[in-house]
Chain length 150, copies 2
DNA sequence: TTACTATATAAGAATGATTCTTGTTCAGCA
DNA sequence: TGCTGAACAAGAATCATTCTTATATAGTAA
């Protein structure tokens, strides 16, 4: 999924932190590593659980703060959702989402035709548009099967 | 914004309720009316506040339950968001959203070119896709101005 | 109209996600 | 190597939402 190796990403992470005057702490590094190893659009608590093995007494508040910070400075993206817990996406390249409205699963997909969409004139002139993406809503394969079986 | 009059919508609301065996209570009617009069993608609490004038002792739990029910049966849509409180959209016609990542404002827009997007083959075959829409993220006009002024 | 019953509601407790507060620790620099 | 502001841990507090329970009422059947 990632086009850069995790080594390259980590190096970039360090450079970006320094450039912004942010301390490179073991916690932040661990959280960043957990993120780039995730393909499931994890919630804060998921990252917390993955990091806890190495940092048994990390506070979940640190994970909340750090993910929020990472989203602000562009290390990850906050995923569009429907009012449940926030989820993050480490893939910063242009891509799109299918969201299962039953189980919450998010599937990434690439679609060159969608990447080429142009921002409508009305927003181009007045707003700063940073992203344009397509969101599919529906029911995923697994959930469809479940509703047939039982 | 609405293509149907609120009278037509209310009539449709009653018919749909009956068809589904749902009681037509004053609370539900008031919540529905508040919804179709809203163009700001209100949160549950917003609707609660708007309805409270007429129903001083309505429970906010009723608003939560009712909005959830309305979304399930297709009277309104749950709007894609970023982990804050759920927001609802009474416009059931195909349209798209611009979301200000600073103030949370959501702007509706119509764009025929976006309405014609086709669901990628991979999802067509395996999932039930109920909606395909374009989401713009960025900073709105008002917020851009604010960041210049002070 | 009236009585009945399942559904809907109000009130408040409970839960889950997130943020805040406070005192402590540590990364990065002098 | 010591200093200082930034970062952290712990737990309290807050906000959104759901659950529980007892009561009220919409729709129906008599």
């Amino acid at each position: 999924m990632m086009s850069k190796t995790s080594k390259e990403l980590l190096e970039q992470f360090r450079i970006q932190c320094k450039a912004r005057g942010l301390s490179i702490t073991p916690q932040r590094t661990a959280i960043y590593e957990a993120l780039i190893g995730s393909e499931d659009h994890p919630r804060t608590e998921d990252i917390y659980n993955r990091v806890k093995a190495a940092f048994p007494d990390m506070s979940i508040d640190t994970v909340y703060r750090t993910l929020c910070l990472f989203a602000e400075i562009g290390f990850v993206r906050l995923v569009e959702g429907y009012g449940e817990a926030k989820r993050y996406d480490p893939d910063m390249e242009c891509h799109h989402h299918f969201r299962c409205m039953r189980c919450g699963r998010i599937l990434d997909f690439k679609e060159p035709r969608f990447d080429a969409l142009e921002v409508p004139q009305q927003f181009k002139q007045t707003c700063a548009v940073s992203s344009i993406k397509v969101v599919l809503e529906g029911v995923c394969e697994q959930c469809l099967q479940k509703s047939v079986e039982p």
